[in-house]
């Protein structure tokens, strides 16, 4: 797209003129703050930048950025307003900050407005509805137990690779009834769909496109196998291929919906599993509370999801000229809802930087968004995390984090690429 520079300008060259790594957020002119650049997210330096904007410029305009100009919405209440006003703030053409991602990814209902959004979502939402998940709980628990039982005790290993990725990948394979031995492809496609070229996963947009083609071909084959089967199978591909509103979907739309479920269900949950372990290490007194009372797990799961905020933002595009918290936003401008900031807003959330396992009203966080686009998989994610933590607490006294985890180079996906730990079993 003509008004947006190539995504390669988001590369991680430390000398990149866009990087804010190592800078004092209070020493630069406020209009130079550019939250979209991934550096401060990877280096875990973003919190003071968010804080300054919340305090001094809660609706902030960044005119110069590698992603093109955009508004940042920092406060919980303003984010709520934007998220619940789809007639003013559109999810089209895309919910990522860079328009040109759109050329390389594909349409799906997360980037559609009503009525099309509502129609398409209705067809697939049943598969992850809580009533359906009940029947999956046993299988997920079994798989989680097998993964945890297989882990080395007393020696260093990468929790991200051995647990977080493995668990969420197995989960997705179950949902799609995807060939189990090929399940690691799901992880690769998910990573490739959101990765920035040069960030480690893929080296170019062409490579991304190849991965997406492979994904489409594989899922088309599965579709063809299942479309002729009797209806009634409750895997996602069967549901899509038999559903009234989706059975005549053009291939790109099918790919879009599949990718949405893979991406939505993959790194968000993965990074919450890792983030929870990290948070309990940072707040040992919370770990003590949890050890003393496992019934805190469901509440802790919501709190971990807030604390981690696996997706830092969602983007909207103004459909009309409008005003938000005193700022005039023009039709066509990009508006970024920084969930990562709203979840740290101490006007709504007390002591937000702490992960508090028994926090009151822990469910009232922004990590799943609100309104018509509210995360479709929120109950699935919560269930997976609850099961994992129940199984962890039955086995281990402590998961000790050693060293600093390595974070992902992205201002969108907030997560970890590696985190080394040592397991200490429960005294029996």
């Amino acid at each position: 797209m003509s008004d947006t520079p190539a995504t390669s300008e988001l590369d991680r060259r430390p000398e990149s003129k866009w990087s804010m790594v190592g800078k004092d957020p209070y020493a630069m002119p406020i209009d130079k703050i550019d939250l979209a650049h991934p550096g401060i997210w990877q280096e875990n330096e973003f919190l003071p930048f968010l804080k300054r904007l919340r305090e001094e410029a809660p609706v902030h305009y960044c005119a110069e950025s590698a992603t093109g100009p955009y508004w940042s919405v920092m406060k919980y209440k303003d984010i709520m307003t934007v998220d619940t006003s789809p007639h003013i703030y559109s999810s089209e053409p895309t919910i990522g900050i860079v328009d040109s991602f759109e050329e390389f990814t594909v349409p799906s209902f997360i980037s559609m407005d009503p009525p099309k959004h509502d129609e398409q979502r209705r067809v697939v939402q049943g598969v992850v509805a809580p009533s359906n998940l009940k029947s999956l709980e046993g299988l997920i628990r079994q798989r989680a137990a097998a993964i945890l039982d297989d882990l080395p005790i007393g020696e260093e290993f990468d929790w991200v690779e051995r647990v977080s990725i493995e668990l969420t990948t197995q989960m997705l394979a179950t949902l799609f009834d995807f060939p189990f031995e090929d399940r690691h492809k799901l992880t690769f496609w998910s990573d490739a769909a959101t990765a920035i070229p040069g960030g480690g996963i893929i080296s170019s947009n062409e490579e991304r496109w190849e991965a997406m083609q492979d994904c489409l071909a594989t899922f088309t084959r599965l579709w063809n196998e299942r479309v002729n089967a009797e209806p009634g199978n409750d895997d996602l591909i069967s549901m899509l291929s038999h559903g009234e509103a989706t059975k005549n979907m053009p291939p790109m739309e099918y790919l879009g919906n599949i990718l949405l479920l893979i991406v939505g269900g993959n790194d968000t949950t993965r990074n919450s599993i890792t983030g929870g372990v990290l948070a309990l290490n940072q707040f040992p007194e919370e770990y003590d509370k949890l050890r003393a009372d496992h019934s805190l797990i469901p509440n802790m799961v919501s709190e971990i999801i807030r604390w981690q905020t696996p997706l830092a933002y969602m983007r909207r595009t103004a459909k009309v000229d409008t005003e938000l918290n005193g700022q005039k936003i023009k039709k066509g401008e990009k508006v970024i809802m920084w969930y990562a900031s709203g979840n740290q807003d101490d006007e709504v959330i007390e002591n937000p930087e702490r992960m508090i396992v028994d926090r009151p009203n822990a469910r009232q966080h922004l990590s799943f968004g609100f309104g018509l686009h509210r995360c479709m998989g929120n109950r699935l994610a919560e269930m997976q995390l609850r099961i994992v933590w129940e199984e962890i607490m039955n086995r281990f006294d402590k998961i000790e984090v050693v060293g600093e985890p390595e974070r992902i180079y992205s201002s969108f996906v907030k997560g970890y690429s590696t985190m080394f730990v040592i397991l200490h079993p429960k005294a029996s």
Partner: protein, 106 residues
């Protein structure tokens, strides 16, 4: 004060008293009624305060507005008598209102 009767999917009942002017969701949450999450705190944007309203009371309620209608659409367990109870304001006319919570909130 008016009375509201909450039943859950398994038939357990809990009767609470609340002031007129508050929402049925607030009446539930402040009296510890389980089965209602109210993640958005009552701004009609999460659909986790879903209830089935007993038939006898349906025509006493204000009509569903388009926003509530759209949010209810996010639930796979929606029925004819589904409402988001943060959008029902208690009045003297609703004294004795009876609602059932679904087995699962969205």
């Amino acid at each position: 004060m008016v009375k509201v009767l909450f039943k859950d999917h398994a038939g357990r009942e809990q009767s609470v008293e609340a002031a007129t002017g508050v929402s049925v969701m607030q009446a539930a949450v402040s009296n510890g009624v389980s089965g209602i999450d109210a993640d958005c705190g009552g701004s009609c944007s999460c659909a986790t305060c879903h209830v089935y309203v007993d038939e006898a009371w349906l025509d006493k309620l204000a009509a569903i507005d388009p926003n509530e209608d759209a949010m209810l659409g996010l639930s796979s367990d929606r029925r004819e008598n589904s409402r988001l109870c943060c959008q029902i304001t208690l009045s003297a006319e609703l004294d004795g209102l009876s609602v059932t919570t679904p087995e699962f909130q969205f």
